[in-house]
Amino acid sequence: MLDGYEMTVGLEIHVQLDTDTKIFCGCKNEFGAEPNHHTCPICLGLPGTLPVLNEKAVEYIVKAGLALNCEINTFSKFDRKNYFYADLPKAYQISQFDLPFCEDGHVMIQLEDETEMKIGITRIHLEEDAGKLNHAGEGIASSDSSLVDYNRVGTPLIEIVSEPDIHSPEQAIAYLKKIKSILEYIGVSDCDMSQGSMRADVNISVAPTGSDELGTRTELKNMNSFKAIEKALKYEPKRQIKVLESGGEIIQGTLTWDDEAGKTIPMRSKEEAHDYRYFPEPDLVPVIVEQEWVDGIEDSLPELPDARQKRYVEELGIPEYDAMVITADREMADFFEAVVKEHNDAKAISNWIMGDFSRLLNEESITIAEVKFKPADLAQMLKLMDEGTISSKIAKTVFEEMFATGKNPDTIVEEKGLKQISDTSELEKIIDQVIADNQSALEDYRGGNKNVFGFFIGQTMKATRGKANPGMVNKILKEKLEG
């Protein structure tokens, strides 16, 4: 791909935790409120106010750390990261510098060629989110003023820092998706990238293949779509290589991704040396995470995607790929399992879920939670197929109707008269008529053109509006045509 070079990607993923209140005050942690409605003296950083740590935020980061195979530090503390910006009311962000809650974790990712890969996680720390700037006019550069909304200030945020193990856009996306999947599973965040509850800073560098040292890196901040990240990861290494090949030097710095132009552009602001002057936050006390607490949280963890995937393959016998796709989304996997409880053909269930179900979800762009029918309905539909009440072809119609209306399959079959015709005498009558109506085709058949058999099947199905039992039609037609 990158001739003679290897790219290395570092991801710092920021995830907002789904607590009821902010990290250091009792204001609501809620997206989409009127500007500055969820603010108080504490999150506005008014003179004299002090932070008090939300216990739930600690529970959630420990939960995330355990799910991402991290070591949980017994002794953690908070530090101040000092910098000025209009969205930061105290002019420092309460974060963690040298003693984060979680360190040294990893996730396994699966690539398209079915290989598995381990991506290391350096650390996960807890911090507070900043506010939001709204720019009048065309954008940050052209407007002569900005408006600041502090609703988001103090939203609990975890930052997940990856090891330099990622070397391709595919790996990066698989890693991001895996992190998203796991965090959704354990219920600490909705990871909604469109609302900014999951976003990533992406570091990119290239170096000659086989080199021990990493190249100079550039950084893309606050990326909030997989597509944009993928495109940027395809573009930026090539740009860097071009610079290097022409004898130039990569300038370490922050870039922005221009999605329309499909390229990275250097930030226009004056690049200045960052000196965050971290020091221990005197207004907060250290956190001792006792083993007992960790154990309790560990016990509360649900079965995670990897374990579930393994179980689906080993115990339910569905293909590895299907298991991966289904388990990537907890709601999807929960739905699948609910159907499996009611019906024993896991493979058939996974086919439906991977096929028509996913297609319709996509087409209507709705989530599993919004689906109108119940898992039991799908099981019932499969039962109707097993019993021969409906054919697989009719099942498609029933399924679409279930999806559209939420009616149960029995009702649909009843109302629409979709019951399969499996009565021999009734079928013989219909087939006799079909043959009588198509004498020349019959002659062709009997003359040796066996291909017209399909034509007769089609005609029979047409006459029964698809309700004829295909196996029986096959059998009866054969007998009758052979004469």
């Binding site: 209140t21 005050c25 008090v52 407007s143």
Partner: protein, 95 residues
């Protein structure tokens, strides 16, 4: 002198302080004096001494994840030098 004018300029920028030429000279001088005095600390061997960030050994202070009333927006914005559309107005961010 420990601190020269260039250092004063750099530190002043970090602290977002505008300093005049006269102040640069004065600060360079005064800060150097204070830091010279701080040299005294180097008489002490602190290799094995843990730093003290808090005077009391308090730990694990939490609040429950329970919603408290936020401030009325009128009060939020009451002290704002400039405001618009329920938000704080600030000058152009990129110069």
């Amino acid at each position: 002198m420990k601190i020269n004018k260039e250092t004063v300029e750099k530190v002043a920028h970090l602290a977002r302080l505008e300093v005049s030429e006269d102040e640069k000279e004065l600060f360079a001088h005064q800060l150097s004096d204070i830091l010279d005095h701080a040299e005294k600390l180097n008489e002490l061997d602190t290799e094995d001494i843990a730093p003290t960030a808090h005077a009391l050994p308090i730990q694990n202070v939490f609040r429950k994840d329970e919603v408290r009333a936020s401030l009325d927006r009128e009060a939020v914005l009451a002290n704002a030098p400039q405001k618009d559309e329920g938000m704080f107005k600030v000058p152009q961010i990129v110069d």
